[in-house]
Amino acid sequence: MSQAHAAKGGLFGFGIRDFVIAAVAAAAIQVIGFVLIPLVGHIPIPGIRSMVSAPFSAIFLTIALARIGRPLSILLVYGLCSIVYLMVSPVIPCFVLSAVIVTETMNLIVFRGYATRKARMVSVVTFYTSMTPLGTLWGSLILGGQYQRFLLSLPVLLGSSAVVLVLSGLGAMVGEKVVAELRRAGRMP
């Protein structure tokens, strides 16, 4: 795979190998989203979609981050996902990419990449947790500010963000366990 390592020079310096693993992880995240989110999509609780999908998506995101390891890896994975989300609704990429910007900025300042377990855990949890309030914020913006009362019910938003934090943390922990197994088998750099 050294040839693949050498094949850098793409967007933000990512190589072919990075794009391939990001695409496979993005496909897994899409499958999880398309299977689980319709089951709860009609329940009007902020963050309910993240609650059901985050624990599973976090596992595959963690594996992709461990494999790529470079800064902006979440942007790579969720950038690909966002192109598909754009087909479903142009609103979804708005809050997904907002959460990506928040997480990547935090990661660039604090960790400068995803090489360590701590960097991956913190970033994955930050990403999914920040998506809940950002989704509600974008939702209220798109609905013409009529949903401000819902935004004012901050305890609900805080509660659901806390649930997403715990669930995505669990997902990231399981992802790290899988990463350790892959590393033992020589499948992880």
Partner: protein, 225 residues
């Protein structure tokens, strides 16, 4: 995939149109929003969404629940109906793209855009990974059944051992093989995007564009003139 006349519309035209419908759904109110909802109803019919009653029932019950929540938290009936109409327009805007577009045609259309080669490559691989993931999952479930074990998230330990770990191995194996295949074929990311010849717009593109312009123009006219 529905094979109506919308399937002949260029996916890029559908993407631009969906963005315009969403923007209009956010900006306009009152009579203009009603006009947009009428247009959205036509989009829904042309996309063949009415042939999927269960999904429609699911979507409309979700909208009704959202409207009811709006009333419960102190909103007026008018505000609640506005929110529901807006959601209907936002939801229907993407139906032509979701229900009447062949993914291969969509990918081919996206390749006409001057996107970075890595993004196009990533999209193609993402699309090709879906059957691989499905095949792997089916094989894992079958193998568990042979051993007399039921797979489900109700038993996390078993789910981890029988699904997650083997699936992750399958994913990384697929990614390695795909990378090797791409590298040995000399596919590089810095060679510039392969921009295809632009397609000439057909009558379906023109008709769909005109339909969008007509409804958006009417909504703007009722609001600003």
């Amino acid at each position: 995939m529905n094979q109506g006349w919308l399937s002949r519309v260029d996916p890029l035209v559908k993407i631009v149109s969906a963005a315009c419908w969403v923007a209009a759904g956010v900006v306009f109110q009152g009579t203009a929003l009603l006009l947009l909802a009428a247009g959205a109803l036509l989009l829904l019919a042309w996309s063949g969404a009415h042939r999927r009653p269960l999904i429609l029932l699911w979507a409309f019950s979700g909208m009704a629940m959202l409207g009811a929540t709006h009333l419960l938290i102190g909103g007026t009936v008018q505000e609640a109906s506005h929110t529901m109409l807006r959601l209907f327009v936002l939801g229907a805007a993407s139906l032509p793209l979701i229900l009447t577009t062949d993914p291969a045609v969509l990918l081919r259309s996206l390749r006409r855009l001057p996107l970075p080669p890595g993004v196009l490559l990533g999209l193609s691989i993402m699309w090709r990974s879906l059957p691989m993931l499905k095949r792997e999952l089916e094989a894992l479930v079958f193998s568990a059944r042979l051993d007399g074990e039921r797979i489900g998230v109700g038993n996390p330990r078993r789910f981890y051992r029988r699904v997650l770990v083997p699936l992750s191995f399958g994913m990384t194996g697929f990614a390695d093989e795909m990378t090797l295949a791409l590298v040995t074929r000399g596919i590089a990311l810095d060679g510039g995007g392969r921009v295809l010849k632009p397609a000439s717009p057909g009558w379906a593109d023109a008709g769909f564009g005109l339909f969008t312009l007509l409804f958006l123009g009417a909504a703007a006219w009722t609001t600003w003139l």
